[in-house]
Amino acid sequence: MKTFIALNIPFAAYFLAIALSGITYWVKKKNFFSENFARYLYLLPMGIGHLWIFCLQSFFPDLFATEGGWSRSSYQYRLGFMDLGLGLTGVIAFWKDYNFCLAAGIMECWFLLGYALFQIITIVSIENVPYGNKVYFLSADLLIPISIIVSMAFWRHHNSQEGRL
């Protein structure tokens, strides 16, 4: 159960981002939905999610590697620092302008879609892939970047309509 919760934090953060962006838009009437959604995607799944993965990679490398179906490696610590950087960028992006969010989005999408490609190759080529590898990682690795791309496209469209670009 603990492992399930630990590995599903980024996934849960994604749905929390949908809920909070909806609340911010309809209750507070602040900004437009795609901008709110993008900002919460940066704060929660990207920011908090990557900081969480940084903690797992750095302090619980065995847990992370086992659930992913890999063996523990010293590369995990270096990947952890990448997660730390992406996490900090995601949290800061919540308050920053469109260009900062665009850079954060490009890095996040490139990183996660590449990860997703690795997961798909692993699933296709290896028969006994652990459950964690199939569900926790792949779903988050596909859902988050696709949502970021769509929300950023609408945000840009809205900005260009208002002459802000």
Binding site: W70, S73, R78, F81, M82, G85, N99, G114
Partner: protein, 154 residues
Amino acid sequence: MILFYTGGALVALILAGLLVIKSSKPFPEAFARYLLLFPIGIGQIWQFYFETYFSLEIAEYLHVLANSFEGRFALSQLTLGVAGILSFRKPRSFCFAVAIVAVCYLGGAGILHLIDATRFHLLLLAPLIVSEIIVAISLFFCVLFWRKTNSWGG
């Protein structure tokens, strides 16, 4: 071959230092942009190439076991490389975002290499450690002192 891998980062850092002398832009901005273009942009893509196509050799030279995490590690280098090249002509806030990731990543990698330095041949690893730590510290201070002038972008 390992010298091409580790030396590439050092060459990129020297190139950035030489080009910034010729630039008429304020030093922090010009140096930050060249750091993002050369050691981070081209340098990381250079290392991605080696990590992907010579992964066994690199793992052997660095005294680590080849592992499936190495592919993911190469992916993080590619991510940073692409973002670094894109940020060369982008506004300050774009560069700021890339710089945060680069400082965390390179600073962390430099510290980890320093901790494990006794296990490596220093001649091979020194360029890598020096370039990682120098690039991380330089980029941090350049972005810190970069005033809000987007003279090359946005």
